[in-house]
Point group: C2
Chain length 111, copies 2
DNA sequence: TGCAATGTTTCCAAAATATGAAACAACGGA
DNA sequence: TCCGTTGTTTCATATTTTGGAAACATTGCA
């Protein structure tokens, strides 16, 4: 595979990398309901605000969320509606697979 | 966030982790067209067969592909149809985002 | 202006992933 | 059976990602 092709695949991979962390999936789940600021989210999930800021930055860099300054705080909100369908597909796939192997039930969606 | 919630998010994250590597996206793209065996794919993309085997193993472990033994070789094929819609969503999101920032054009789908 | 609150960036250590060589296993044909 | 082909696993190494503390920046308010 040549350099050019690799670069193309790396670009295509970016959004999945952004989703490949439990804390970021958790944050998207929160953001699905309403906008949150960084310190709210950090407190909600129990991590340092600097870590929360970095996770949100990654989600923003691939266009899944957007931010808006409001005084001293920054409000983040879900920006890509199709992420919901995407997560639903992921959930069906992984849980269908689990069910086949372990007999578990899928009771929740990914997001 | 408690232990139980973390485990739930980790499960939800698995499929995105499997997709979070350019070589695995490339392999899925090949598998979209027809089944391939390990050494074929390894040669096609220019990596060691052990590495190819491990990447395929990861895709299989989350149910995106399935395998079938045929004599000395193992044939892998795409197993989760919705992965195509999912990738299309990813492509729209990331390329829409790129276009906004850099003025690039989206000419190909992710898979 | 001085201060408190909110976010981001930088730095370093720790954890998770990826790579390639080599050993190992399974299979079919000569 | 012996050998060549195909795949998987193991091991050590290298790379990437993550987490948390601290420094820094920005804003609003007293």
């Amino acid at each position: 595979m040549d350099e050019r092709a690799l670069l193309r695949y790396e670009l295509k991979t970016e959004i999945f990398k952004a989703l490949a962390h439990p804390m970021r999936i958790c944050m998207l789940e929160k953001l699905k309901e309403r906008p949150w600021c960084v310190c709210e989210l950090a407190a909600e999930v129990g991590i340092d605000k600097s870590v929360a800021s970095k996770h949100l930055s990654q989600l923003k860099s691939v266009g899944l969320i957007s931010d808006e300054k409001r005084g001293t705080l920054v409000e983040y909100r879900l920006a890509a509606p199709c992420i919901l369908d995407m997560a639903a597909c992921a959930e069906r796939t992984i849980m269908g697979n689990r069910r086949k192997r372990l007999g578990l039930e899928a009771t929740e969606s990914v997001l």
